[in-house]
């Protein structure tokens, strides 16, 4: 009875007892979730267009953040450093297309996956050699001040991050749904052969997708880096993106976003209200458990279409 109380009664009583605090928890969770969404988005973009599960997405986030910090440390202006990092990410995408994707075209997915594991090591190594392995603070000049709205505690940095993410997602949505290149991208994602037959240049498309994923990675890297410093554990947020992808589906952009928000809110709520009975620190594994439970009921993800094998 005591366990029942601790698991199913007390937490909800706490929530109802202080709705304002609950709201703060939810908002905090949403803001963390935005970051997860950004990382997951990088995965989804690449997976959709080239069918590659890019193990190196986390390393790309790290690499982008390290490059930005490195440039800032050398006294480069913030805007200039941002632009330069963006350009480096595009060059990186082109190099990846030339050196990895192109030679391996038509190989099994698992082989490309292995190649991205290699890429992951290369990027981490390159980042470390170029910029060292200390934890570095990242300050891009976004104010980080707490303030109160209607009695709810908010943080200006978090709001800024959310706004940036919203803008990014909107731009990507318009790009994908309304422009010629977006249409070509969707076409490639759907059917390589058919895309080739209408003359869509596959290699250019891949370079574009990896560039976009690199830029999304840069934004994610800035947000995370500014919050908790740029360090090697940054590449580990890629692991948090996995449960997000299981929730949202590997090919759904809205799925990545909603999935990120659900995981973000879920783990915050779990941490605050359910940690005591588990002896604390459930934030670290809650996401995976949620994904596991989810897999049992909806393996295709929130927005994925149910696949019925044709026989």
């Amino acid at each position: 009875m005591d366990l029942w109380n601790v698991l199913f009664v007390a937490p909800f009583a706490d929530m109802i007892g202080s709705p304002r605090f609950l709201l703060e928890v939810i908002i905090g969770g949403l803001l963390t979730g935005v970051m997860y969404s950004l990382v997951a988005l990088g995965f989804v973009l690449i997976f959709k267009a080239s069918g590659v599960f890019n193990f190196a997405q986390g390393a790309m986030v790290l690499f982008a953040a390290l490059t930005l910090v490195g440039l800032l440390e050398h006294g480069v202006q913030v805007l200039f450093a941002l632009a330069a990092t963006g350009i480096i990410m595009v060059l990186l995408a082109i190099a990846i297309e030339r050196l990895i994707l192109s030679p391996l075209v038509n190989q099994e997915g698992i082989i490309l996956f292995m190649a991205t594991i290699g890429l992951d090591f290369v990027l981490r190594g390159a980042g470390q050699i170029a910029w060292g392995s200390n934890v570095k603070p990242l300050d891009v000049g976004i104010p980080d001040k707490p303030f109160e709205v209607a009695g709810i505690l908010l943080n200006s940095f978090d709001l800024f991050a959310a706004a940036i993410a919203a803008v990014l997602v909107t731009v990507l949505a318009v790009f994908f749904q309304k422009t010629g290149v977006g249409r070509a991208l969707r076409a490639v994602a759907d059917d390589h052969q058919a895309a080739l037959s209408v003359g869509i240049p596959l290699r250019t498309i891949w370079a574009i997708v990896w560039s976009v994923a690199g830029i999304v990675g840069l934004v994610a890297g800035i947000m995370w880096g500014a919050k908790s410093g740029v360090q090697f554990s940054l590449s580990l947020i890629a692991l948090k993106a996995l449960p997000v992808l299981i929730l949202g589906g590997f090919t759904s952009v809205p799925g990545a976003i909603i999935g990120g928000l659900i995981i973000g809110v879920g783990e915050k709520i779990a941490e605050i209200y359910w940690a005591p009975p588990f002896g604390g620190a459930i934030e670290n594994w809650f996401a995976y458990m949620l994904a596991l439970v989810f897999l049992l009921f909806r393996p295709q993800g929130l927005f994925g279409e149910r696949i019925i094998e044709r026989v």
Partner: protein, 262 residues
């Protein structure tokens, strides 16, 4: 049958093309010409190498021997992108549409190479990029009218019945305003009415736009009705070529279809 006088010079010349997969010789020194504005049918039993022939023409496969001359340019092999750029469009035996996209978007992808502005421009959604998008939209709407598929403009093609999907696929090829249209079994799996519609569209395309068409078809009555000439393949080799009437009475062809001699 379409009028004889329309037919022009050689548009495509296939010369001694061979390709093998492992031990299978899918094409064995196949040669034939396709003349401008004609409708040429490729027929033959299953596994004869018909699809492989189309795949060589549009650059999916690269022949190990022989060459293909298109519009006077002779090539050992051509990249798919190059083939599309030169004016070759096609449909596939197993429909290859962009299943998640609407009919309209699918057909719009056929305009890809007609977009004058470069790729980066097309990434924008305003100004000249948008204007160009709208111009191409107009062409696509014509194709949609032509194929009588207005009612499914916005439907994701994955949800359409098979016959309509084939029609959308034809639309995507037509949107490219090709000089040479390759159709791999455009009527396979269709019911009688759908076949009739498809035959009408193919003849109309050929009549109205003068498009040269190479098609693979199993239904002999269709082949006899619409083609100017027929090439017959069997086990990768060309065993006959001529008008439908000539081919119909050719003993080798009859044997091949009856399985004699193998």
């Amino acid at each position: 049958m379409s009028p004889r006088n329309k037919i022009g010079d050689v548009l495509l010349a296939v010369d001694g093309v061979s390709i093998s997969f492992g031990g299978v010789r899918a094409l064995d020194k196949v040669s034939f010409d396709v003349r401008a504005h004609e409708i040429l049918a490729i027929i033959g039993p299953n596994g004869a190498g018909k699809s492989s022939m189309l795949n060589c023409i549009n650059g999916f496969y690269h022949p190990q021997e022989g060459s293909i001359t298109f519009k006077g340019q002779r090539r050992r092999q051509m990249q798919t992108h190059e083939a599309a750029l030169q004016g070759i469009a096609r449909t596939f035996q197993n429909i290859a549409l962009f299943k998640g996209m609407s009919t309209l978007d699918n057909i719009m992808t056929g305009r890809n190479l007609k977009m004058k502005r470069n790729f980066l421009w097309q990434a924008l959604y305003f100004g000249p990029a948008l204007r160009e998008e709208l111009e191409h939209r107009a062409v696509v709407e014509n194709v949609i009218d032509f194929l009588e598929i207005e009612s499914i403009r916005k439907t994701p093609v994955g949800r359409l019945p098979y016959g309509l999907q084939k029609r959308v696929e034809l639309g995507r090829a037509l949107a490219a305003e090709p000089d040479l249209l390759l159709l791999d079994e455009p009527m396979a799996g269709m019911n009688y009415e759908e076949k009739e519609d498809m035959v009408r569209f193919i003849l109309d395309v050929n009549d109205e736009f003068g498009t040269t068409i190479v098609l693979i078809e199993h239904d002999m009555s269709v082949v006899m009705d619409i083609s100017d000439r027929v090439v017959v393949l069997d086990y990768g080799r060309k065993i006959a070529e001529g008008t439908p009437d000539q081919v119909r009475v050719n003993q080798d062809v009859i044997d091949a279809y009856l399985g004699v001699g193998h």
